[in-house]
């Protein structure tokens, strides 16, 4: 059950959140600090299962353009995923 909640986090976008999502979940499901930290570990390591993308460009400006393209592509993917 906890795993499924964690898997849902990257898809459920909410820019207005002001608090650590792990802490919110910990409060919601009433767990203690050890369980909360275990959740944090899982949350922070979800990215291990996903691909890392190279940044191209030699100058700072070129790298910034490359980053912008990557972020835009990720926004598109996120948008499609949310349907």
């Amino acid at each position: 059950m906890l795993e499924s909640k964690l898997e849902f986090i990257p898809i459920e976008r909410n820019p207005k959140k002001k608090f650590n999502v792990v802490m919110i979940m910990a409060k919601q499901i009433k767990i203690d600090k050890d369980a909360a930290l275990d959740l944090a570990k899982k949350y922070l390591t979800i990215g291990d299962r996903y691909v890392d993308i190279s940044v191209v460009g030699k100058t700072v400006q070129e790298k910034a353009v490359s980053l912008g393209r990557i972020f835009n592509a990720q926004k598109q993917t996120d948008f499609q995923r949310q349907g």
């Binding site: 990257p10 999502v21 203690d32 979800i46 691909v51 460009g57 790298k63 490359s66 835009n72 990720q74």
Partner: protein, 144 residues
């Protein structure tokens, strides 16, 4: 004493945008600052890792696995964070070191997401209080 970690390159995790938004940050707002950090790290071929605030400097990263009292938090093992903007406390860039698939002797930097001190480590009061994460002591053990 800061230690140097050799790196082959810097890459962006596929979930960077999603996770950053989750913490309330739009990565596009920081593309120039992130590009500057990447340039520094790739040009020098290593990243300086510091542990005490006296060694802090722009371009260095700090291990996230120690709390405010220097206690090891195994759940944060392998995570590091860097200040994104020169002379600014927040936001932070969270990174990990990943072995190169084709050459495991080398490591690259995987950029994971943007966040800030309060969301990652709690308020200053929380940071120095290990009991601050205790939500419901009466349930301790029942769900762990």
């Amino acid at each position: 004493m800061p230690k140097n970690k050799l790196i082959s390159s810097v890459k962006v995790n596929e979930l960077f945008n999603d996770f950053s938004y989750e913490y309330g940050y739009d990565p596009s707002d920081y593309a120039n600052e992130l590009a500057r950090l990447i340039s520094i790290w790739e040009e020098q071929g290593y990243i300086e890792v510091y542990q005490i605030s006296q060694d802090r400097a722009y371009g260095k990263i700090k291990s996230s696995e120690l709390d405010g009292n220097g206690h090891f938090i195994y759940q944060y093992c392998g995570l590091y964070h860097a200040r994104i903007i020169y002379n600014e406390h927040d936001p932070l860039l969270v990174v990990k070191f990943v072995k190169e698939p084709k050459n495991p002797q080398l490591e690259y930097v995987s950029m994971r997401f943007i966040s800030d001190h309060e969301q990652l480590f709690g308020t200053i009061q929380d940071k120095f209080n290990r009991n601050s994460l205790t939500i419901n002591c009466s349930n301790r053990g029942s769900l762990v």
